[in-house]
Amino acid sequence: MSAMFEGNALSAMQTSHCHTSLNNYRMGLLSVVCVSLFFSSTFAVDRGNFKTCDQSAFCKRQRALKPGQSPYRALLETLELSDSRLTLQLINDNNKVHLLLELYRLQGNMTRVKINELKPLKPRFEVPDVLIAEPPTEPLSVLSKDDNGVVLSLGAENQRLIVSARPFRLDIMEGPEVLLSLNSRGLLAFEHLRLHKDTQAQADGAEVKESVDGDQQQDEGKKDEDGESEKEEDGLWEETFKSHTDTKPNGPTSISLDFSLPGVEHVYGIPEHADDLKLKTTDGGDPYRLYNLDVFQYELYNPMALYGSIPVMLAHNTQRTMGIFWLNAAETWVDISSNTAGKTVFGKMLDFVQGSSEKPQTDVRWISESGIIDVFIMLGPKPSKVFSQYASLTGTQSFPPLASLGYHQCRWNYNDQEDVKSVDQGFDQHDIPYDFIWLDIEHADGKRYFTWDPHKFPQPKEMLQGLMDKRRKMVSIVDPHIRVDSGYKIHNEITSKDFYVKNKDGKNYEGWCWPGNSGYPDFTKPEMRAWWASMFAYDQYEGSMENLFTWNDMNEPSVFNGPEVTMHKDALHGKWEHRDIHNIYGLYVQMATAEGQIQRSGGVERPFVLTRAFFAGSQRYGAVWTGDNAAEWDHLKISIPMCLSLGLVGVSFCGADVGGFFKNPSTELLVRWYQTGAYQPFFRAHAHLDTTRREPWLFGPENTALIREVIRQRYALLPYWYQLFYQAHKTGMPVMRPLWVDYPKDTATFTIDDEFLIGSDLLVHPVTEEGSRGVTAYLPGAEEVWYDVHTFQKHNGAQNLYIPVTLSSIPVFQRGGSIIPRKDRVRRSSTCMENDPYTLYVALSPKKFAEGELYIDDGHSFNYDTKKEFIHRSLTFANNALTSSNLCPDCNFLTSSWIEKVLILGASKPSKVLLKMDGKETPVDFEFDTSMSVLTLRKPGMNAGADWTLLLQ
């Protein structure tokens, strides 16, 4: 739930007849709830509450700097090379400040570039806890060196790193090709730490300007030159936005670097933005902004910041996929332009490249407010390689409990225990499966998380037991803002342990959020996180049971009366400013919560935690949703590129509120959203407090049937989803993917974001247009065939296929050449289906071949990892034989699931089918449907964990 607005929720609590608008909250006028009248409730973000680049002093300063000759020069004589790293000093010829460049060649075809001040006045922030380990390095060697630069070998495939001295730039080459250049446009800018102007001579101010502008083109021109610089002075040591003043005791600290990508026209990633999959150029508009914010009623198709930030960009062309990971947790802006400008001289070796005709090129520029430059360049070259490279740095998607891949029923709010019970019964009455029912903020006693409202939820354990009896689960919300209330245990303990974030004056930072005046625990502290985790123990979180899981909302953090609805940048986390750590706060909240769930089970059970705010590495802790969307068709559409973008940068467990959070969906929109959501990784319906009820059975029997059908499709496919998550967890491959990931040479796929792949084998084109009578799906792959999963009709690849649709249609295709295991006996919950048999859907390629996998474990514990208790089988259809072979011979897990049916799509009719198992051959009954060429093997009956072969003769 959530979002800012609702004056409503809180004011309704206080007075029943007076509504406070969002605007008031933003201004922190909670205390005068009744003063305000109805403000216009137009349905859109109030952009004025959020900064543009122009309103963010460092962004404005940095962006005023235009490409040109860089003032930075590499001091080649300072070069030091050890086994693992190369260091080199850079000097800014304008202000003589020295920087230290560190270069690492990392295992797995990656290069790390770090730039910091050589001698900063005090340490600059380096983001901890994101990398899973210090990345292992490989030796660098100098190939050649002269006054102009150094050529280093990156080992494999004739890859070289060229350091040019004057001006400083880096080029990564493979053979004759430049893959990527750094500072080729001269936009490296490093605002060094300095003493305040009061204690320093005025000259320093001038120098500051130089350090930013590098004394290049003064495009700002003559107009208002004095006023301009005066204003910049203001922005350096203090900055005011709306009524909030940022004191900036450290002065200007921003950093910037540019990257050129020759031959690249498509870049992706840097979520979270409500925008297309393919990133747009930002010329003439604002850069993409990365700054975790609680944006009320966000607008679509713009580069405004949202709840989470992952500073990872992917660049792709038909030859290669690469990634740039900018490890910085401060407010960050990313400019993208696409042109062929910026070609400069860089050494003899590259001369002939210049000779080549104009190449498309994408230029990217990253700007952050503080910290250091720490960039990981992932060189691919295949998409899958980039994913594994990024995974090797920040880890993979956590392997979720199987049940969490089922359907989640949420609402702000299920009113009380009775309500929960009747919704639970509603699902049974209408024979619709679900696994989780959710409780939003109203369940807690006065928004004191870890407690229950004594009137509405007097017997939480009774309620949870009731759900457990149905083999279902619950999620309760636990937000990071803590009600300041001396009668509240959590608040008292945090206070006594001194775990709250501090304001600039060293007192506990307080802000307004749902409970009213709230404190914000300092999740950057490991001791704080350990304590927080301990609060999830069954004896600490009273009323909790093992089927209760957690939702972390508002963890940007959301501060209703803070600047841009978040925390003041001069608030303090130990010795670091909030400015330095802002974008990672939400990650820490989810990290500590997930750890709490693991600990409460003695390390046995896998956690499930949903978060709204996130950062690079958040994938390790659970699921993410796209925040407070709206019941509008465009919001349904945007859910696809939003989750695709997240998947590309590690976060596979992504979903959007089904039905849309704000406003009431039309029945058609709701049905379409269920159809779309059922084929997205995190499948949860959610609705705002002020919306009318929308449980699936409230829209007439026909629509109930449509929703039931698509939720059942989801449950039947759970074995496939689970196996894909296992794969994501092991390799970093996204579960929900853009087409280009699997068809990297097919340019037609590069901008597609109205359809997507689940794994490699299912292609989904949801219907996202109102009143649609048909969709055109692109089926990729000249060599491929695709089978409609509902009719088994076969279609050729590399074509745009028009598919007529009705309200019951959700176009889904299975790739020829794949085998997908399903559990077609759909039951009340995924846990109820645990021991059910599988049906194998074997879709043959034109060469009569298919392969797939089957993964089985207990669905909820870490035993797959700690005890190797799982089954992982390879399924291969070749030469008219379908074989199951063991991918993990030293694994041990027993299942009572068996193979009840095998469907072979695109088959020809055999005369006989034999099952070969344990050295015996037994005939298997079969049926053949000639119209669709579907061969159905009846009840072969082997255990799902066994070795066997089915022979078609």
Binding site: G7, N8, T15, S16, H17, H19, F38, S41, N415, D419, D431, H455, D469, K470, R471, L689, D690, T691, T692, R693, R712, D824, R825, V826, R827, R828, T831, C832, M833, N835, D836, P837, W898, E900, K901, R938, K939, G941
Partner: protein, 530 residues
Amino acid sequence: MTCLHLLLTLVFAVSLGTPVEIQRPRGVPLTKKQFYEESKPFTCLDGSRTIPFDRVNDDYCDCKDGSDEPGTAACPNGSFHCTNAGYRPMFIPSSRINDGICDCCDTTDEYNSGAKCENTCKELGRKEREVLQKMAEITKEGFLLKQQLIEEAKKGQQEKQSKVTDMQENKKQLDEKVEALRTVKETAEQPEKEAKERHLKAWEEQKAAIRLEKDKAKMAETFLELDDNADGFVSVSELQSHAELDPDADGTLTEIEAQGLMGGAEQVDTSTFESVWPKIKDKYHSESQAEEPAPVETPPDEVKEPVVDNDSEPYPEDDISEEEDEDDEDEDDYHEDDDKAQPTIKTPEKTHEDEEAMPPYDADTQALIDAAQKARDDFEEAEKALREMDDQIRNIEKELSFDFGPDAEFTYLYSQCYELTTSEYIYRLCPFNRVSQKPKYGGSETNLGTWGSWSGPENNKYLLMKYEQGTGCWQGPNRSTTVKLTCGKETVVTSTSEPSRCEYLMEFTTPAVCQEPANIDPSPHDHVEL
């Protein structure tokens, strides 16, 4: 997957509770036993295909309609029958077979899942019988009450109907009376008006004469006052002693200014003073009245009065809404008193004016006025009576126009209100009027909807009432309330909830919805399976 699913022995309870074993495949109801004969191939119940009998309940779905797997979870659309001896038999979706959850009270759905189920049918049956019995009693008593309600309503309706008829008859007479009295009134008012005008005119003339007289007296008096040295002349210096006559209001009356007032003369005698008098009379302060006491402050008892008044009529504790008008009047009274208290300062002047009150009418005129007044009073009284009659008729007609149910059994709810107090609010249902909510601890009332319509299902719309168009919600609809009526001996609001934001649900029991108890023995055996 093994064939242990083909267990054919089941227990079935025939009437009188004697268990008899009847063999048939698992999950098949007795009524369909004939389709499952072990010796014959099985034909799917939709007729789509025929399969060997050993494929019935073999845990593989062969029939599209699911009929070959009544006892397994193999078919997505199958259903399983549990006998539930001692309770009521039921069908469950076959997806609930062996899913680890006990659905059938006789435990037969969980024969291979490891779930530990206990047979609870007897207990459930006992409880259900108790509930049914209780319900039956309530229904029975409620239905009797309903008959009374219907009787009363019919009586009431007839009474009202005849009352309306009577009243309409009376109204006709009243109409005529009003018209007659209007004529009388108008006839009496004409001579009254003329006499009054005559009287007024005479008085105006008399008043002018008196005023002139008074002025002259005052002038003479003033002359004497001003003529300090009593020489028969008022001199410039004598005039100057009256600074209030200063024409330019600078506080001093200079010699020139005084001369100006005196028309340029040094002194004036009584006759010349006549021309000076109009210039000074408005400003002139009589020396004898100089020490006139300041106007009396508001008498203390008058100030207190409204407070006393208020105390004597405290706010009624309940039924505020109904008393609202009265309260408003109280408040108005208060302000009026307040206003009256303020201008008492002017009172002396007023009384002064009053001295010049019009002389009483002469006897003839007064007689005319009295006659006209009586005609007016009579007319107004009659007109008021007519209005009241109209209102009464309208109210009764409005009441008669409501849909109070097929037998008018809901009539008694009209103009009643029923309350329910929860931890936070007092909810109030006034049937056929409105629903409201008031915070328990102060705060204003919120309208949760005004009477809309009956909105129950087609076969009995009188099971739900809909109240609509209540106070609006932020970014949402206007509040509305659905009232669900159930049979009960008492008329009472039993619960309220807000299942959806601003959409309230109220449960309400009333004998008026009690159905005639069908003379059924509430034993489970009569709920025969389909």
